[in-house]
Symmetry: C2
Subunit: 361 residues, 2 copies
DNA sequence: CTGAAAGCGCTTACAG
DNA sequence: CTGAAAGCGCTTACAG
């Protein structure tokens, strides 16, 4: 172990070729005679030589490193997204550096700089407010990046996003079809595009079905379990208590369950509940949460692919947008099996272009 | 944006100093006159110069990159651990590259190589079988690394681990004290130290309380929800059905719940359940799982600290071991509130050294 | 406190 | 198919 680290020149000397030939053999460059390559690779194997990664990165100007910025790695949504990103990246021999901003705005800037110092070739932001100066600066400089499940106001850049408006619309419609009339929503804050879009979908559904929109039934806060918990406590003490709650994500829905159970009430008998995300716990037989599935793993895959294409082709103003369709997952948290299904109503003035609003933002 | 990338020499020229002085100013080297430093930094700011990260890494031989290998990032246990690691690492200006082996053994080797190619300064393995050749090789080469919540047979290296034997012992004891006599365990496979240790704690508790050990009550498999589900189906069809099930982690416990509910039975009325990990969903008011808390975030923090100490001090055979104490979290999945508490039995021949077995492995 | 030299270990680009 | 040259943009180590 005390031996000096081998370099490409040592191998070259022993193989009686120039170090360039060794470099080519190592990089699968076809311009090396088969026999020479074999001799070199045998030597490399025998001596267990591994090229110095840092020198390689420095010379080639490519780190094969992707920076991933999420808002909370302990949120299963991001964990699953990260898995999709990581799998696809490794498939193409890229590594993923990650950081979790924990919704603290100062962190984004610090982390972006830290990652730049690590020499990342590009970024994936799965956590970004509507206005985020560091990110906007990167976009201006045409630094390769893709936004996942977030939109930045007015910026044109790569993004992969779920049609949140539609997902929220469909799940609200599901509640309406089940006969609920007093439907509340507890969702994320208004500086996140997902929060805005889900609220918009909810409102569009109410409007299309000519239902009253009650401002007191809208509660906003961070996308956390606490928001769901506190929001529910608030909603359930109202004189005109809602019959159903739409949790803006499954975390919020989890908090709703906490509050409802604590009050000695039951889902779905006393109050119906729907979520958004389809986290693992939503399918638990004790929970059976009706929710909207986001294809997180695929979103991760796609965003990496777009990013790598951008990095390797070096296109400077490549704007790729992928909008995934949501999928409604019907379980029993709205009492779907308790009550006889009413026949599906059609929205009086159904306008399918409502979903196009994503592009109008 | 088309402008040539600035180098340290450009700044030097403009500041009328050598590029070395610029380098020093940038690295907070005290050997620069205050006035000179100020002039340089102003220029750097004005021109928005950022040193080339890759050149820096190459010259300094340090990437400030830590490789994290977990078995499944979508498992909240690892996600939370990762958060602890990432926070601590960023605090010290290190970045974390991660990968998730998804319990596929070939992946570990591939990923270790990929990460070496990224130039990592050290590794944290939170996923490692008892016998893992690549990892053993790194240990032999004294490459900085720490093992989290895993032990490798016979290897001396840094590790941070929970006293799994004790945690399993205590939770089994809890069930015994509640009066259960037929206690089954569904836990992880025997090539993982956590699986072995939890089974051992269970056995020690039964032994100390002079209870019968029934091999049919032991089910092993991967640490997944499916294992819990299938295992429970199997246990509940036995003629001598267990009264309580110890799920080796909360994921397994989640699968137990799935199966029990599906069969129309109830927890805790028909069968008691305990888990291990204290994942977020365990505390949900609808679940209320009695479990063992692992201080995942702290484990992450500590492992990074040990690793960075190792990297920066360059000690070659630094063996640091941290054994964290588990904490029993009593909720209601064993019917703690349903039945009057029986007075705590004492194990007939209580031997506290039983916990020492961790070191004897 | 400042600088001139040397070099880290590769790759890119050019020549043969 | 192979090689000699040059250089990537910093830092380390030595000199003053």
């Amino acid at each position: 172990m005390g031996k000096q680290k081998l370099t490409i020149r040592d191998i070259a000397k022993m193989a009686r070729v120039s170090h360039m030939t060794v470099s080519r053999a190592l990089n699968d460059d076809p311009r090396v005679r088969e026999e020479t390559r074999k001799r070199i690779l045998e030597l490399v194997n025998k001596l267990d030589y591994r090229p110095d990664a840092r020198a390689r990165i420095f010379s080639s100007k490519k780190s094969h490193l992707i920076g991933l910025v999420v808002s909370s790695i302990s949120n299963p949504f991001y964990a699953e997204l990260a898995r999709g990103i990581e799998d696809k990246a490794h498939e193409q021999e890229y590594n993923v550096i990650f950081c979790s901003t924990e919704n603290k705005s100062e962190r984004t800037e610090t982390y972006v700089h830290l990652m730049m110092d690590a020499g990342v070739d590009g970024f994936i932001f799965a956590s970004s407010r509507l206005h985020e100066p560091v990110v906007e600066k990167l976009i201006d400089e045409h630094f390769p990046l893709v936004l996942v499940n977030r939109k930045l106001r007015g910026e044109t850049c790569n993004y992969v996003v779920l049609n949140n408006v539609q997902g929220a619309y469909e799940i609200t419609e599901h509640l309406i079809n089940l006969g609920f009339e007093k439907i509340a929503i507890i969702t994320g804050t208004s500086n996140l595009s997902t929060g805005i879009d889900r609220l918009k979908g909810y409102q569009l559904a109410l409007r299309d079905y000519r239902m009253e929109f009650n401002e007191n039934y809208v509660i906003q806060g961070p996308f956390t379990r606490e928001t769901g918990y506190e929001g529910t406590k608030q909603l359930l003490t109202m004189k005109k208590r809602p019959e159903a709650i739409f949790g803006g994500n499954d975390y919020i829905a989890m908090g709703v369950i906490d509050a409802v159970e604590e009050l000695g009430l039951h889902i779905p008998e006393d109050i119906a509940l729907v979520g958004f995300d389809d986290n693992e716990f939503a399918s638990n037989q004790r929970i059976r949460l009706t929710t909207v599935s986001q294809r997180k793993y695929e979103m991760g895959n796609m965003s990496v692919q777009i990013l790598i294409d951008h990095i390797e082709r070096k296109e400077t103003d490549y704007t790729h947008r992928v909008i995934l369709e949501p999928r409604l997952i019907i379980r029993e948290s709205c009492g779907e099996k308790l009550w006889e299904k009413r026949k599906n109503k059609q929205p009086p003035g159904s306008e399918i272009e409502a979903f196009g609003s994503l592009d109008r933002m």
